[in-house]
């Protein structure tokens, strides 16, 4: 090399520092991701892998055996996401706003306690709520009875009309800590001068929240929305732990994650089909990619303006 005089050592160490991370990341994450996209263009005929182009996608979207399940799972997944956006994030923001009150005592205790469900595994959360809501045990009906609302009780997880909403709310219960923490951090980082200036103008309390703080934390709300979106369209564990791979009753809680699991891994009488599984995974990839791009190019770039 001509510039060996200026750089006495060949800079092998850069490669050595980068190699392990890049190798593991490429081999176990990036390559399988693209390989999965590639596998969606193949199918198996007589135990041989045959290239079929976009045929699998046509099957998935149009052939009724597949398409009813796919559109059902996709629709359920959107409902799952909408509940999170409408319930989890507002509650998280409200809790954070209360917690950030400067004179509040025990704030760190509340914060730690409310975050506990987030650290529990889906298996614990799924079964715990299944037991609590179960008509056999009777905790939920008993508690509703105590406040005179027993007539409202139904075995929610067993009813097609309620099961998905109930599970979404269980998931909201579990993850409310994440928006709470992120918004709390954002609220703390608002400079005191801004709030004091508002106070001088007579803007305090709730109106300070709506007029000053909320616009300033919009970027964090954007981040939370995209995190929620990716997590929801990638969800599987809670549904599987609470309702099994068949996402009962009658597939009413089926989302893309459980649908993909059943398809590629096989379940009970159904044989696993890696190619259709890859096709569903590719559809999930496309959905997540569209969401992330919308966020990056649509929402985030517009929100930057509010930060100043």
């Amino acid at each position: 090399m001509s510039d060996q005089h200026t750089r006495p050592k060949t800079r092998w160490h850069i490669a050595v520092f980068l190699a392990p991370a890049v190798l593991v990341y490429t081999a176990v994450m990036v390559y399988p991701l693209f390989n999965t996209l590639r596998l969606s263009l193949f199918t198996e005929i007589d135990q041989e892998r045959v290239y079929v182009g976009l045929q699998n996608f046509k099957t998935l979207f149009n052939e009724s055996v597949w398409s009813t399940q796919f559109w059902n799972a996709l629709g359920n997944n959107f409902w799952f996401f909408i509940i999170h956006m409408l319930v989890q994030n507002p509650i998280g923001i409200a809790l954070a706003a209360i917690l950030s009150h400067p004179k509040l005592r025990f704030a760190s205790f509340y914060r730690s306690a409310i975050f506990i469900p987030t650290i529990l595994s889906f298996v614990i959360v799924g079964f715990a709520w299944k037991l609590i809501l179960s008509p056999i045990w009777g905790i939920a009906p008993g508690m509703l009875d105590a406040i005179g609302l027993k007539s409202l009780y139904a075995p929610w997880l067993g009813k097609e009309a309620y099961a998905l909403t109930t599970l979404s709310l269980v998931s909201v219960w579990q993850f409310v800590g994440i928006p709470m923490m992120l918004i709390y951090a954002a609220l703390l980082s608002i400079p005191d001068e801004i709030l004091e200036a508002a106070e001088v103008e007579g803007i305090t309390g709730l109106s300070a929240f709506w007029k000053i703080k909320l616009p300033l934390i919009l970027p964090s709300i954007g981040i939370i929305s995209i995190l929620t979106f990716v997590a929801n369209f990638n969800a599987f564990d809670l549904i599987y732990a609470a309702q099994g791979a068949l996402a009962g009753p009658d597939f009413s809680t089926d989302i893309l994650g459980t649908f993909m699991y059943r398809t590629f891994f096989g379940f009970q009488l159904q044989l696993g089909d890696p190619h259709m599984g890859s096709t569903i995974a590719s559809a999930m990839f496309a959905i997540i990619l569209v969401g992330v791009c919308l966020y990056l190019f649509g929402i985030q770039s517009r929100m930057r303006r509010y930060q100043f």
Binding site: V16, I132, G277, F285
Partner: protein
């Protein structure tokens, strides 16, 4: 002063709201744990009562410890979590150092390439990952899980750690270079100790999702000897679904290690989230 009274009322309302939500958050855990110490009859008759001398029973725990190999599951979960964290931190810090410290062709591109994985979930590639693990004979080994979690954790680790490594003073590193330290020594002796808080943040972020994951143990390592605690308790509860004592005890046993980790690391975790490491 009405403003002061108003303020006190606000504080009171704030406490009321927070206490209410804290109860909602803790109630299910509380119910599960107290009932795991009760007899079957008491579980159903008085589900909300604390266990007393008459209703106290450890029968559920006895069944769990006899029937399920929870110590093995716990050990597997430990190996997978600690192993993955070790590789995430070591490889992540090395790559972050390379990106933060040196100027070379493709630096930005490499950073972007590694950052892609922050938003794209690794589960999308599961079909091909399983195929690869079958081909390499890693299926039903803990290595399969460690590799997957390492790959999954690296993007965010590199991102966070390189932010912190940019703040390490150049004078210190240059002093080390003048003293004749190799680049490796500068990294391991000078830089790594200084970014320990950031490494702890990364570790805590990764620890809980790895410990709690159900998807990859279910698909890559479902065999009895390599089951993690999460999968083990899922399977156990599925089998003993009518034995309420056993189910409640298994749930309590599964809660225990995570709660212990949380109590030890909650300060670190909350500081990590609120310090803006993920912004």
């Amino acid at each position: 002063m009405s403003a002061a009274r108003q303020n006190r009322f606000n504080l009171f309302a704030a406490h009321a709201a927070l206490i209410l939500y804290t109860l909602i958050a803790l109630f299910p855990v509380f119910v599960i744990v107290i009932n795991s110490f009760k007899t079957r009859k008491a579980i159903f008759r008085e589900p909300l009562a604390l266990p007393d001398a008459e209703s106290f029973s450890m029968i559920g725990y006895q069944t769990v410890l006899k029937q399920g190999d929870f110590f093995l599951y716990f050990q597997n979960s430990m190996i997978v979590t600690v192993g993955s964290l070790f590789f995430i931190l070591l490889f992540g810090a090395m790559a972050a150092f390379a990106l933060a410290e040196y100027r070379f062709k493709g630096n930005t591109l490499m950073g972007l390439y590694l950052a892609l994985g922050i938003m794209i979930p690794i589960r999308i590639g599961t079909v091909a990952i399983l195929e690869m693990m079958v081909q390499t004979g890693l299926v039903n080994t803990l290595w399969a899980l460690i590799l997957v979690y390492t790959a999954q954790g690296l993007p965010l680790a590199v991102f966070i750690l390189s932010e912190f490594m940019r703040q390490v003073s150049d004078d210190l590193k240059n002093a080390g270079r003048i003293d004749g330290l190799s680049e490796y020594r500068i990294f391991f002796r000078l830089v790594l100790p200084l970014v320990r808080p950031a490494m702890a943040t990364v570790a805590v972020f990764n620890m809980i999702p790895i410990w709690n994951d159900l998807w990859f143990p279910l698909i890559l390592a479902p065999a009895e000897e390599v089951k993690t605690l999460t999968l083990g308790s899922q399977v156990f509860i599925g089998q003993f679904v009518t034995d309420w004592n056993a189910v409640l005890s298994a749930l309590s046993l599964a809660i225990l290690p995570v709660m212990a980790l949380y109590v030890i690391f909650s300060r670190q975790l909350i500081r990590g989230i609120t310090s803006g490491a993920v912004k």
